[in-house]
Subunit: 299 residues, 4 copies
């Protein structure tokens, strides 16, 4: 799941400082010649392809997805994206992005009172095992202020009073504007409006405390207990206007038994939530996740 | 999950042939003194408790479940169940059964065209790793006759013609009457009526090809593909009148990716179905599964 | 794995404050009548058995293990252990202990520089999901002082200088004396002498960063990479004089691929180490783990 | 793990019968330009790349691996391999092969007395979910003759008498010569000599009944029981002269407990062996497995 390439990048930079690792991610209608065109463009530009993954839903009339990591001398980097757009992307009607791998994504966290998903990110970040920069935490409760600030991270209390959600969302938008490449909901117990999501303009990842589509909505562990399931799970997905229905990035489960009551399921599930959430955020930050309708391709 | 005790039973029988392994399974309203009463009864009867498991949903006003394996000289076995009923079970309002562990449960299999769940049972049975006796296979299709008969097992073709389901169910009832302690649906694609289940009088275990309650009903792998889930699963449950809603015995999942289309999910899922189905049947036959409302306790 | 009983204990205490939950754990040579004797003793004492688990390696000449949770009026609790010793334990040559479930075990942590296993415990402790009281952290390095102290927990720097290990162990012994019911090694990179273990007198749990017995000793992730394994794991075990060879409490693994280099295995493995370590400590603190020669019985 | 492309191949063939799916697998010292050269060659040849995966152990001086699936008009297929060798492979010092995806690999099975791994392959083959053609089964025991022949497959009894192993290996070589693209050991309990492996000339896959490198050699389940491990596993690997030390293709584990004695571990482990073995054989037959020293790259 992790790339040795990324790990060695700093060393390589030391020895040959003018080389840069870049990620190119594209999707487009599948047709012959895409890989050849992309790799020819990169070869002509002097790039060395370090890794690539691709997938087609159907080679005849499906959608094609590709993720390429390449290195390139800094001197040759000039206007590369623009040139790629003109020479390749337009021709194949691509949705695409090019991302400098050394530019870590800026991540803002929304949270309510449960601290486990938040703390998982904070500790991975501090330990240097999250390829992202946390930039701020905002919450509709003040409970976690001290914890967050002890990591040297700004904490913003943005209460959501009954009937005043638009004001709260406006405050959040102001906070987040141009500060984050990704917003993550670390058990943020407020529903975000479609209008908010549209204005925000960055992807939003949520961690849901069930194995979706089982137990959508509130109280999943209580309902899991009632239904007598033998596994409980967690789902990380991109947030869309439709609650708990956005494209799934990652899921996992843990075995439970009749001995586990709803609070026990909640504790056991919290561990799965942490793991699934951290993986989804990490993969997004490495540009491994491509949205395909209401599903994802994870390279 | 398996009991060394059961394994050594034949050896023990050889050396001390007059001893018998018996399982006692009880559930009742919880209140003080149940364990003491049961173990005192068994000690007084000369039994040696080999293993026991118990569980209470709530020690104050919940339901209590216990499963005990004990050995007893054959000579002391006489009327043990009757005496237990009078001395203990009636007093605590127990639902209970006592089962001679050396009497293997007789299992009848209903199947349609998919052979994987059926073959898993047949092979485990032939290999001696299923603690049950398969007694017959019935199917609404004739396709699997030769496979079944090659195991020396009777195969009955009981077609279900449109509008003639009652006749088919009557034929099945006649086949199964007094011949089986358990009926299992190894991907039997017909819905059994409440009337059939009631007349049958034995438990019925079904293997459903999804991680219930996700994707109840038909076409679960197709719907899993559409929803973009990252795990597919299988669920073994007791059959009730309400489709796909009976008490869950066992579940498991397997990781899938965007590369797996619906036929691939079907193939990967089939392996999970086989494993989950075999475990559920095995556990039932070892009297490890106690029904509790719409859930199960699995010791 | 978790007990609903423990969860409801505070509520029960509120309503009926004079009742206490107690755990009884015994092992002894198996022979008829043990369960009856224990449960009769408890019934006579007025106890209500809330849950029990038992296991015998061989009913004829093996070892018998039992763990019972019972409630008892405080007024009836007097000298219960003494009476049990005389009336039951001595007769069956039991190794046994009785533990008041509301008395949380005191846990001391030894750590070196890797913080992940330590932090997992600290956060579970603060979140209230670890049934134990952390009492101190000691380390042969000073690096983690601030982190530990931010949890309000004493941090002791006990350097281990070359050739001065006996002095360091003496300092540790003084620190730990009568302060801990359990010592845990959260990636403590020093080998403890048999003399230290004997003087310490409490159980010691270590988390080893491989799936033992594969890759005993140093550098397991590097060796896992060289061997090309497809899963890496972690093992929590009781510490004995023989390095990495003590009784295993819990193990788990995570899938890896050729793309993961040794640092990636280290990161992925760290998540498994955290989970396995936390489960082992939790189970020990709930008196679920009984040692049996060089293995464990985990109820 | 499975490719939708392969599934749709027959349909495509129907509509456009002159197109063929081909797999190209290469490894070589990594250096800039490999991907560009390969994809340019394919584009110039009129091929459409359907999927590709690549990996480099180190972009500066490591080894590069690539697997490409492409379609090509039959008319353009002529001498493609020869041309690729001259134009690309020689230049980059590649080890490579090109394989027509519609030509299923011919697999010969060696087995002793345990039937579970053999039966797993036979059933997957008959069910059409193994992308290979089983061609024969040979065994040093006659026990499984009837089972094998009931699948319409030739069974050869090649006894291995004490001191006459060279004769037995010679008989096997004669049987296998030019008849198989792959030989699999489905619990074949004889050690094959280095001389045999060299003369055979095809890859050999073995299923070992432990999580290697733990419990190499004989009696792994017995030793797992003694060591008290909490998981048992299985390992599929290519066979080399050095026993149990060849490149690992796939591994998996299953959770066990103190209640499982060695026979129970054997039964539980058999299920993992079956699954791991089937995956390894399937992946090999799809040309997904590339050997890298004593490890594998699995695309």
């Amino acid at each position: 799941m992790t790339s040795p390439t990324l790990q060695t990048a700093p060393d390589r930079a030391e020895e040959a400082p003018a080389v840069q690792l870049t990620r190119l991610v594209c999707s487009c209608p599948d047709r012959p010649g895409i890989v050849a065109a992309v790799s020819r463009f990169l070869a002509d530009a002097g790039a060395n392809i370090v890794s690539s993954s691709q997938y087609s839903t159907d080679p005849r009339d499906g959608t094609f997805f590709v993720r390429i990591e390449f290195t390139l001398a800094l001197s040759a980097r000039d206007q590369l994206a623009e040139r790629f757009g003109l020479a390749v992307a337009d021709r194949f009607e691509m949705r695409w992005r090019m991302w400098d791998a050394e530019r870590r994504k800026r991540v803002a966290v929304l949270v309510s009172r449960h601290d486990h998903a938040l703390m998982e990110l904070l500790w991975r970040w501090r330990r240097g095992t999250l390829d992202a920069d946390l930039v701020l935490v905002a919450s509709n409760h003040a409970d976690l202020r001290a914890d967050v600030e002890s990591f040297g991270l700004p904490f913003h209390h943005v209460p959501v009073r009954r009937g005043e959600k638009p004001a709260a969302e406006a405050a959040l938008l102001e906070l987040l504007a141009d500060r984050a490449d990704l917003v993550v909901l670390a058990r943020y117990m407020q529903i975000l409006s479609g209008d908010f999501l549209q204005r925000l303009g960055t992807p939003v990842i949520n961690i849901h405390h069930s194995f979706l589509p089982a137990f959508e909505g509130a109280g999943p562990y209580e309902r899991a207990k009632e239904r007598g399931v033998k596994l409980v799970g967690a789902t990380a997905h991109y947030v869309t206007e439709q609650l708990d229905a956005g494209p799934i990035i990652e899921q996992d489960v843990v075995r439970v038994s009749h001995r586990d009551d709803a609070p026990a399921l909640t504790r056991l599930g919290a561990d799965v939530e942490r793991a699934v959430f951290a993986r989804a955020v990490q993969w997004h930050c490495e540009d491994r996740v491509l949205v395909h309708g209401n599903t994802t391709v994870v390279f």
